[in-house]
Symmetry: C2
Subunit: 245 residues, 2 copies
DNA sequence: CGTGACATTGAACGTGATCAAACGGAGTGG
DNA sequence: CCACTCCGTTTGATCACGTTCAATGTCACG
């Protein structure tokens, strides 16, 4: 499919993509940017840390995890990504990908040559604006994650994860009060800086407390309000205590 | 000083600034961008989370801390910033600052009207490139921080902080094997997701082990190699053990 | 010289990790 | 169809890292 013209109008991610603000002509120019549509199966990599940076990527459908690895092999999942998400920005101007992206399920991803993107970016106001927007929100989102990893209790981290995932899915026009976790418990644990066992126990507790309903990877949010309260009231725990329960 | 023309050539941060790649004419256009040079004293804020977004800021001299606050008042320092650092990017297109910046010492900061910056950005390749570079490296840096906050032991976090600070200072043309920590122990602890007491104890331990020399806020790196080893060898601790020592 | 913020040091506790084992579902082959 | 394996998940018991609580120490500044 290399070299095939993009067809953004028929893409599932069009409303959440970099091209969502473009005029018809601009979008046509965007569609003509070189690149491939890639389909990845669970476990396959889109790119890996250290790879040459040549393209930006946008998730069209499916989901993926992104992670960084340190010199000693320590691995940290930095994010889970759904349709519309832009991947690979970090590598601009360093010439190298700074993290790895791996599909969590069969996923389709749109590749865009960065060199050509740069040219279009230079003379397309709508693209610049949307790019700013995406990058700014990624920066802000990462700062929020520092707060999660630096300050929250295990219980709060999981509550945050569930609510944040729901919100993210909602923003992408996907089902959000009931959804499937495409990642393993191990992935969630890694993402939240906790042990797998902790995730497993907390999910069970949340289920018992009727905050959520968990059945394997199927999640239903039963009481988002109480989840949110759990996240904010550090003094007076709501239902599921840390020590108690 | 509002409206005063910038004079980049005499600025301490010129080699590390957004304007560092510009041609003479381009830099003159950059100098003409509206904005103020602001001088902040220790504890004064450059902007606060929730403020209207109107400008970008570049540290000219001094240092500052940036932090986010959650609804329940939980606070997380997201970064310490030195000359050349660009601040406020996260607020682009959201119209609102997403974090707070506070001076750690008397500091001078260059304010740039975003509206005007955007115009110059549109037709100045060098500015776009440098902006990409800065934003990409901030994104990558934040991902590294997730690894620190999610995976490392207290000892490794502090080692990372010291080495990372040194590297950052070096990249900014500042003294890096011996430097002054302009932030309190409390700030370091918050930044690293640890308690103040832990920082204090570890600094003492690092000093005893001749990894560094600490005297109040004055730090001298004695053995960067061993600090680095401490950071990577999780199996075979180098000198300063976790349980032992 | 007193006051207050910042920093250090010690002792006890607690959250979440680690270790260990069993369980369950999905896929495979007899 | 059923054993079988494999991987992901759950559950229980113990342990440890880092927190919390408390007290003392130190520096800067009125």
């Amino acid at each position: 499919m290399r070299g095939a013209k993009r067809d953004c109008r028929s893409c599932q991610a069009v409303s959440y993509c970099l091209c969502c603000q473009l005029t018809t002509e601009e979008r046509e120019a965007f569609e003509n940017l070189a690149g491939t549509r890639r389909v990845l199966r669970r476990g396959e990599r889109l790119f890996a840390q250290g790879d040459d940076f040549r393209s930006l990527y946008i998730v069209q459908s499916g989901s993926a995890k992104a992670y960084v690895i340190s010199e000693d092999g320590n691995q940290q999942i930095t994010g889970f990504h759904y349709r519309g998400d832009l991947l690979g920005v970090d590598g601009m101007e360093v010439g190298m990908q700074t993290y790895t992206v791996e599909a969590l399920e069969t996923s389709s991803i749109c590749e865009i040559s960065f060199a050509e993107f740069e040219r279009l970016h230079a003379n397309t106001a709508g693209l610049r604006q949307q790019f700013f927007k995406v990058v700014a929100s990624e920066l802000a989102r990462e700062k929020q994650r520092m707060l999660v990893l630096g300050k929250l209790y295990a219980e709060q981290r999981l509550a945050h994860f569930l609510l944040d995932t729901a919100a993210h899915l909602e923003g992408r026009g996907l089902a959000h009060s009931e959804f499937v976790l495409t990642m393993t418990r191990h992935d969630i644990a890694n993402y939240l800086g906790l042990a797998v066992e902790t995730i497993s126990r907390l999910l069970t507790r949340f289920d018992s407390a009727d905050l959520i309903r968990v059945r394997h990877r199927q999640i239903r949010l039963l009481d988002a309000a109480r989840l949110r309260a759990l996240l904010y009231d550090t003094e007076q725990p709501v239902v599921v205590l840390r020590a108690t329960a």
